[in-house]
């Protein structure tokens, strides 16, 4: 069985957000929910400031606190290391959100894509309403740009009252493809592969650069690794002073 992991090369990442947009398209992610997200930080005081961008997603921890806490095994591990969620078993208690140290699980507080249920025309007498459009394009379900392939292992659009999160695009992996955020990254900053294969690109990168993972001290064994750091800045060499 493979053990899937992702390496994010922060030297290559330009913070364009293409991963997040690709993720939304591929997984029909609703408004307010972010399977692929980011942490941005600003250091220093103007004019000596620096902006730091770190892409985030579910870490698919080997010892996942969300899986440990879920009372009905709705949140569970697959043999290939992916942390998967079954909305049919989810009671909507949000204990996984409470347990997740990485804040990457989201709850469907209301019906997904509610803006596409609006019955008011965008321009009165000029355009159709979102509801009319969705009826014609996609039989009233999801969005006009819904990806039916997502429905192979999860509901195409997750209903209200259950949680959802990144699945490493398990439906694409089953079809022999890499996750769509990896595919879409224009800088090849995301590298996906099998940690059990010593010659896989992820194994080679982890051997070549000193990787780190988020909140490693918690012992959750995340399977998303970060390497390198983008910083082209130069500075005048001095010893400082008093």
């Amino acid at each position: 069985m493979p053990k899937y992991a992702m390496v994010i090369d922060l030297q290559s990442c330009v913070g364009c957000g293409a991963c997040s947009i690709a993720c939304r398209n591929e997984n029909n992610v609703s408004d307010g929910i972010y399977w692929s997200n980011k942490i941005t930080e600003t250091y220093g005081t103007f004019p000596n400031v620096r902006f730091h961008y770190m892409p985030t997603l579910c870490n698919h921890c080997s010892d996942a606190p969300c899986v440990r806490g879920c009372p009905t095994k709705a949140m569970h591990k697959l043999d290939n290391g992916i942390t998967m969620h079954d909305p049919d078993k989810c009671i909507g208690c949000r204990y996984c959100m409470y347990n997740c140290p990485y804040e990457v699980i989201y709850f469907n507080w209301q019906d997904p894509h509610k803006f596409w249920r609006d019955t008011r025309a965008v321009i009165e007498g000029g355009t159709s309403s979102p509801e009319e459009m969705i009826q014609k394009v996609n039989s009233g379900k999801g969005t006009p740009y819904s990806n039916p392939a997502r429905g192979k292992t999860l509901p195409e659009n997750r209903p209200k009252g259950v949680v959802e999160k990144c699945t490493f695009c398990d439906h694409r992996i089953n079809a022999g493809k890499i996750p769509y955020c990896v595919e879409a990254c224009p800088a090849d900053a995301r590298i996906f592969g099998d940690l059990d294969k010593p010659d896989s690109q992820v194994s080679r990168l982890l051997g070549k650069f000193k990787p780190y993972r988020l909140k490693e001290r918690l012992g959750t064994e995340p399977n998303v690794y970060y390497i390198r750091s983008y910083n082209p800045a130069r500075y005048e060499r001095t010893k400082g002073g008093i």
Partner: protein, 371 residues
């Protein structure tokens, strides 16, 4: 005149239940949880705080009702049956809050078909289910004028298990060390017991007042004893409360405790400390006030109000500080004020509690002493 008052009372309770049913329809079927003041940061709010409040009060009541059989303290027998029925009523209120907290409560069937033994939430669900069944059996035995020692002891053990497992549930995540499982496993049973003593005083004295049953000398002595015990347990609660403030709020410097430090300045915290602990403790410490009915009722009512605020403050203290990607675009601490629908959840639970209890008081002879 009495009949009108009773009809008015039932009318009020039915209004509370109707508001609750409307909330249940809108939250679970039509609109969703967007009706609550919940966000991706504040994932648990009033419904879960109310659940903790009611469920711990119920387990505390189990300690009180078990006193005659577990500790052979026969002077507590006159309140045994009322306390046992109150446990059931309060637990039903707790279940109501839980129902309106869960996004998909119908999937709870998977507690049976897909159990996760590593999850404290699974253990809690199963224990509360068992607890409810044992309570019904235990009360039925009392209603048939007999007390079962075995059932009494069993209820006592399950009550300890449920309240400590609730501490495990809150304290499980390493990511939220502000909830310390070891501390909560002691604090929850203790505060549940204190809440139960307050509830016993309130409901028993309400019975004497509304049913116009004068207090006998034995009743007075019993309620004075309970008030003294209430004062002692309340003092221990205050000590634990202050230690939590010192350890996790003042001396801890880790960033994970910042949420609690922030809550130290909140109205919920001060309501819990001053209205819920300091004032009732001062009242109950004065013998003249403690022995007066108004003193008992006032201190018990204030304690319960403060305890509810304390439960909410505790839940919020682990959540108010956004972290990770969810902190993007957020202030360092998020504020919370409940929506009217969240208030209706509490009103719904309280109305169910009072309706079930009123029906029991009128039909099940709760003042009877089982053999």
């Amino acid at each position: 005149m009495k009949a009108i008052k009773i009809q008015l009372w039932y009318g009020l309770l039915l209004l509370g239940i109707l508001l609750g049913l409307l909330t249940a329809y809108r939250v679970l079927i039509s609109t969703g949880f967007a009706l609550y003041a919940k966000t991706d940061i504040l994932v648990w709010t009033i419904p879960i705080a109310a659940y903790v409040f009611f469920s711990l009060t119920s387990t505390g009541l189990a300690f009180v009702s078990s006193i005659p059989v577990v500790f052979n303290a026969n002077r507590y027998q006159p309140i045994e049956k009322r306390t046992a029925f109150l446990e059931i009523s309060v637990l039903m209120a707790a279940f109501t809050c839980l129902l309106l907290h869960l996004g998909s409560p119908w999937n709870a069937i998977y507690f049976l078909f897909s159990p996760n033994f590593a999850s404290p939430l699974w253990w809690l669900g199963m224990l509360y289910g068992l607890y409810f069944i044992v309570l019904l059996l235990s009360f039925w035995r009392m209603h048939t004028a007999k007390t079962s020692k075995a059932l009494g002891i069993f209820t006592f053990i399950i009550a300890i298990a449920t309240s400590t497992v609730l501490g495990w549930l809150f304290g499980l995540p390493d990511a939220r060390p502000v909830f310390d499982a070891n501390f909560l496993a002691m604090y929850f049973p203790l505060t549940g017991f204190a809440s139960a003593l307050a509830a016993v005083l309130l409901f028993s004295l309400a019975y004497h007042s509304f049913a116009k049953v004068p207090l006998s000398e034995g009743d007075k002595n019993l309620y004075n004893d309970i008030s003294k015990l209430f004062g002692v347990v309340m003092a221990f609660t205050l000590i634990f409360f202050l230690w939590r403030t010192i350890v996790a709020g003042i001396s801890a410097s880790a960033v994970e405790f910042a949420g609690f430090r922030h809550m130290l300045g909140s109205g919920w915290y001060h309501l819990a400390l001053w209205i819920g602990l300091v004032i009732p403790l001062l009242l109950i410490a004065m013998p003249a006030v403690r022995n007066a009915t108004w003193g008992k009722v006032t201190s018990a009512a204030l304690f319960l109000v403060g305890m509810f605020a304390g439960r909410l403050e505790m839940v919020l203290s682990g959540l108010v500080m956004p972290t990770g990607p969810k902190a993007e675009g957020q202030p360092p601490f998020v504020s919370y004020w409940p929506t009217i629908w969240e208030v209706f959840v509490f009103v719904f639970a309280l109305a169910i509690l009072l309706l079930v209890y009123t029906l029991g008081e009128r039909n099940l002879k709760l003042a009877e002493v089982p053999e």
